[in-house]
Every structure is written in structure tokens, then in C-alpha cells.
């Protein structure tokens, strides 16, 4: 455990040294928040609701979605493919530390900074803009939302780790990752609730893991998913974590056999 704690602290140190990445990421997050907040705010000014979402519900969704973007949809595993391509992975493979654990720790360190930052940003946003925020529908809903968010974090990490490991097969991983992330944010509900989409699209998405990252946890929070649906949502998240874990482990094992440890 000591090695992961030391790594966690060093990852923080490194991020504080390389401030520009962090600042730009926070800027992007605020830009998304302001644009979506004012878009929905004006769309719902003279309307009672959109597809069952009242103005308060939609604006709460947007604000909470910004929090989940920082908590769930942030990761550092996009560095894995370049480390594989340049042979930097070798340094890690030569030491008695799990690769998965190494990146999970770096991810946790990055997330913890992002979470701290987004909480400050949100407090200022709420203080100055005074959005009509709704609390969770019950204490139990708050608990289920928190648990579902934790599972979503684990799910997204497994997903992005798996995508990083694809670097064993292709050095040009930026393109696939960019396309994947655009599709993911759209289908996760990181721009708007996915139940605004046509029925056919919703049916397709129901077979994919993405809505379980943002949309379903927020459905629990807003009471759109009742207690009778919580178990199904949490069960699906656990199932997806299992599937993604098996897939990323399988890819990792196969990738290691292909690894050429180039550049040295």
C-alpha cells in the first residue's frame, strides 16, 4: 500500500509542477457548464418542461453533470499509448508494481485534484448565479446516487484503461480515442439526458455501458429512476465493470506478448 500512497503524492506533486494542463482542463469544464446552463435556461424560460424535465430539474442535471464530468469522465490513461509506443512502459514493467495499480493511483490523484477544483468552481457558480438546484429526492436516493457514482468512476477507468492498452496494436491512438470520447460523452448523457433522444436510439444505448456513467446516476439523484430501478442500475454497473475488467486484462496479457520495448 505504501508504494501506491507514495505514488499518489508524487502524482500530485507532478500535476502541481505541470499546471497548464490542469488549468486548461478546468477552463474546458467551465465553458461546457456555462454554455449548457444558459442554453437550457433560455430554452426553458417560457416552457413548463422538455420531455418531462422541468427547468429546475434540467438545470440541476447540467450542474450535477459538470460535477460528474470531473468525478467520472476525467482520466490520465490517455498517456498509456504513447508510453507503449515510445517504450517508456519498460520502466514500469521492470519494477514490482502492478501496471493497473500504477495508473489507477495516478488517475485517483488526478481525479482528487479535479474534484477539489470543481467543488470550488461549483460553490462560486452557485453563489453568484444562484441556479434553482434541487436536492436528492431522499437520503436513500443520495446514498444510491453516491454509490452509483463510485461504480461509474470504476467503470470509466476500466473503459479508458482498456482503450489505452490498445496502444499495443496501434501507435496512432489519438484518433480512435477522440472519436470514442465524443461518442461516449454524447451517449453517457454528459451534454443532455439521454432520454431526450428518440426511442430507437435509447434502445441501442440501453445495450451499451455509457449511460451508466452519467445519465443513470443522475436519474437516481433526480428521482427519475425510482427505488425499484436502483438495483437494476447498480447491477448493470457491476456487470459492466466485470466485463470491462476481463476485457482489459485479456488485452493487457495479449499486448505484453507483442510489446517490442522500443527505443532503448
Amino acid at each position: 500500500m505504501r508504494k501506491y500512497l507514495t505514488l499518489f503524492i508524487m502524482s500530485w506533486q507532478k500535476q502541481l509542477e505541470v499546471r497548464s494542463d490542469f488549468i486548461f482542463e478546468r477552463g474546458r469544464s467551465l465553458a461546457v457548464l456555462f454554455s449548457l446552463y444558459y442554453l437550457w435556461s433560455s430554452l426553458l424560460t417560457n416552457r413548463a418542461d422538455v420531455a418531462g424535465y422541468s427547468r429546475s430539474e434540467m438545470l440541476t442535471y447540467v450542474v450535477m453533470m459538470t460535477l460528474l464530468r470531473a468525478w467520472v469522465l476525467s482520466n490520465v490513461t490517455d498517456r498509456i499509448p504513447s508510453e507503449i509506443a515510445q517504450g517508456k512502459l519498460s520502466d514500469l514493467l521492470l519494477r514490482p508494481i502492478s501496471h493497473f495499480g500504477y495508473w489507477a493511483t495516478q488517475d485517483a490523484a488526478s481525479k482528487s485534484l479535479a474534484i477539489g477544483s470543481v467543488c470550488i468552481e461549483m460553490s462560486l457558480f452557485v453563489f453568484f448565479i444562484r441556479p434553482p438546484l434541487l436536492p436528492p429526492t431522499s437520503v436513500a436516493a443520495a446514498g444510491a446516487f453516491a454509490f452509483s457514482t463510485l461504480l461509474a468512476m470504476a467503470m470509466y477507468f476500466q473503459m479508458s484503461y482498456m482503450l489505452g492498452v490498445i496502444g499495443f496494436w496501434t501507435a496512432q491512438s489519438w484518433g480512435p480515442r477522440f472519436c470514442f470520447e465524443v461518442f461516449l460523452e454524447f451517449s453517457a448523457g454528459a451534454y443532455f439526458p439521454v432520454d431526450l433522444l428518440p426511442g430507437a436510439a435509447q434502445k441501442v444505448l440501453a445495450w451499451l455501458p455509457f449511460p451508466y456513467l452519467v445519465f443513470h446516476p443522475l436519474s437516481i439523484y433526480l428521482g427519475k429512476a425510482g427505488p425499484d430501478q436502483w438495483l437494476s442500475i447498480l447491477g448493470h454497473q457491476v456487470m459492466w465493470i466485470g466485463v470491462l475488467t476481463l476485457a482489459s486484462r485479456g488485452l493487457w496479457g495479449a499486448g505484453l506478448r507483442r510489446y517490442a520495448a522500443e527505443g532503448g
Binding site: R2, K3, L5, T6, L7, M10, Q13, K14, E17, V18, G87, K88, S90, D91, L93, L94, R95, P96, I97, L256, R257, Y259, A260, A261, G263, G264
Partner: protein, 326 residues
């Protein structure tokens, strides 16, 4: 039990091919041909604990690939390999704790942070308690004079300073086996000597088993008695350095400094001239003819000084690989 035992070790890479120019790149989007490259064809050797062995060979001979298989980084496509009783590719914790691999062009130190932070991380990764960590820092500091460098961000260190830090960091956990790939590459002569002295002490005092590759012949001559010569993925020679020279170069170098200048035709009478500048001449003389040829030179030329030496190792190696002596 040998520290390293490799039997018919082989590694074939699958390399994708791409056509030239834009058309080639465009075609590569749809079809990509591959070809197999045998980096190591069949290599068998064993190394006893405490040995210091050099891997020699031209670029692309398979030296680094062999070291990478020994370290477990690469999956061998043939043969069997045991290092410190383990199959390296399995990457068992016990194995990873007992060896270290230093690549001259790679670094494990965190670029943005002071080197001491990476040392602290490695101490945690290798489970060194505080007392042992402190002792190792003191030992490494004494050997490599690292004191002024601990708190400087790695990116601010010179290449030589960084290499010292890399080596120290790789040795923090006192590995039984050290693999060194081009450890002196890019270093100035002072740093090269510091590193060589350090490696010698490590091998002599700690009995660390060391395998190294280097294109720097001074590294090989100073450090290693045993050499393994690799070419085109197979072993051409495995034995003591003097035997390598005797086997592949059936001649020695006789050098004479003359009291007065002599024309080149007078010099050429005594054998194949390697060097001549009027007052100094060097010949390549077959080993069996040394005494008679030296006697002739001393009798027929105004010699001020004369030496008989093995051919420079660099020439030997060049000859082995270029002139097809093997």
C-alpha cells in the same frame, strides 16, 4: 545454479511494411504487409553468479533484444530462459525485486521532480525500510558523489549527472543481477571512468552479476574478462577476451619509434604497415614470426623504442564483423 541459463533463445519481430511517399501511406490505410525479422535466431549461454560479462556485436546484432528478454520485457518466440531461477516474462515479484536493467537512453526518474522523489518511490516499491533506505543512499552517495544533485529537478541535470542518478536509482534495492545497456553512451571521459570504477566495485565488493553491452571498447577492456560476441542473432564467440583476440587476430602489432627518418620502402620490408609517419612505424606481424621480425627490425633500423602489443580491441572487433573473420 547459474544466474542465467539461456537455451536456443530466439525472438522474431513482426514488422509492418509501408510503401514510399503519399501513395504508400494511402495504400497502407487499407492493406498492410508484414514481414518477420529474426532479431535473435538461437542463443545459448549461461552466466554464473558474480560474473561480469560483455555482450559484443554491431548494431542490430541482437544484444539489446537478448537483454530485454533476460529482463522479461520481451516475450521470447523460441527457446527456454531461466534467470535467478525464474522465467523472466512471468514477471514474478520475487524476480523483479532481484535484478535491475539500466538502459543508457532510457530514464525512470520523474522528469519534473527532484531525483530524490523517484528514489523515495522506488524505496516504497521495493519495500525498503527507512533504515535500509538511508544506508543505501549513503552508500550510493559515497560511491557516486550525488550530494549536490538530490534536490535538483531531473530535467535540470546534465546527461552525466542524470546517468549517475539513473544508475544509483536502479541499484537502490541492491539487485543481485544488473543488466547494463550502453551505460556510458554520451558521457564524457571523466564520467565514463567514474561509472566504470563504480561497476567494478559493485561486481567485486557486492558480487553482483553484471551483463553489459557497449560499443565503447574501453568499457569492455576495463570491466570484462568474458565476452559473448553476437552477430546476426547468433553467438559467434563465448569466452575470455584474450582468447577472442588470439583466435580471430593471428597477429600482433609491433610499433617502433625511430631515431631518424626512414623512407617507406625500408619500412615495408618488415611486413604489413599499419602506421607510418617517418619517425614512427607500426606493423601487423603474425604471432609465430614475432621474435624473428623484432630481431630484424632492431638490427636493420635505428630503433629508439619498440613495443609488441595485441591489436587494439576496436580493430579486432572491426575485423571480426567487417572482414568476415568469422
Amino acid at each position: 545454479m547459474p544466474a542465467i541459463e539461456a537455451v536456443n533463445l530466439a525472438k522474431t519481430y513482426v514488422v509492418s511494411q509501408r510503401g514510399e511517399g503519399f501513395a504508400g501511406s494511402l495504400k497502407g490505410l487499407f492493406t498492410r504487409e508484414t514481414r518477420n525479422v529474426e532479431a535473435v535466431k538461437s542463443v545459448s549461454f549461461s552466466v554464473e553468479p558474480g560474473e561480469l560479462v560483455a555482450f559484443l556485436g554491431p548494431n542490430g546484432a541482437g544484444k539489446t533484444t537478448t537483454l530485454k528478454m533476460l529482463s522479461g520485457l520481451l516475450y521470447p518466440t523460441g527457446g527456454t530462459l531461466k534467470v535467478l531461477g525464474h522465467v523472466p516474462f512471468e514477471k514474478k515479484q520475487d524476480y523483479l525485486r532481484r535484478f535491475s536493467f539500466v538502459m543508457g537512453q532510457k530514464h525512470q526518474l520523474w522528469w519534473e521532480l527532484p531525483a530524490l522523489d523517484t528514489f523515495r518511490l522506488n524505496a516504497a516499491i521495493f519495500d525498503l525500510d527507512a533504515k535500509r533506505y538511508r544506508r543505501r543512499l549513503d552508500e550510493l552517495n559515497e560511491l557516486l558523489q550525488l550530494d549536490p544533485l538530490w534536490n535538483t529537478p531531473v530535467k535540470k541535470l546534465s546527461l552525466g549527472q542524470r546517468m549517475k542518478m539513473e544508475l544509483a536509482c536502479a541499484l537502490l534495492h541492491e539487485p543481485e543481477l544488473l543488466l547494463l545497456d550502453e551505460p556510458t553512451i554520451g558521457l564524457d571521459v571523466v564520467m565514463q571512468k567514474t561509472l566504470r570504477d563504480f561497476v567494478t566495485r559493485l561486481n567485486r565488493e557486492k558480487k553482483t552479476t553484471i551483463l553489459l553491452t557497449s560499443h565503447n571498447m574501453e568499457d569492455i577492456e576495463t570491466l570484462c574478462r568474458r565476452v559473448i560476441v553476437v552477430h546476426h542473432g547468433i553467438i559467434l564467440f563465448d569466452g575470455d577476451l584474450p582468447d577472442l583476440v588470439a583466435r580471430f587476430v593471428p597477429a600482433k602489432q609491433v610499433t617502433a619509434v625511430l631515431k631518424e627518418e626512414r623512407p617507406r620502402k625500408d619500412i615495408e620490408r618488415f611486413g604489413a604497415v599499419q602506421e607510418y609517419n617517418g619517425l614512427r612505424a607500426a606493423w601487423e606481424v603474425p604471432r609465430g614470426d614475432i621474435s624473428s621480425r623484432v630481431s630484424d627490425i632492431l638490427n636493420q633500423l635505428p630503433v629508439a623504442d619498440l613495443t609488441v602489443e595485441e591489436m587494439p580491441l576496436e580493430d579486432v572487433i572491426r575485423r571480426i564483423f567487417k572482414e568476415g573473420a568469422v
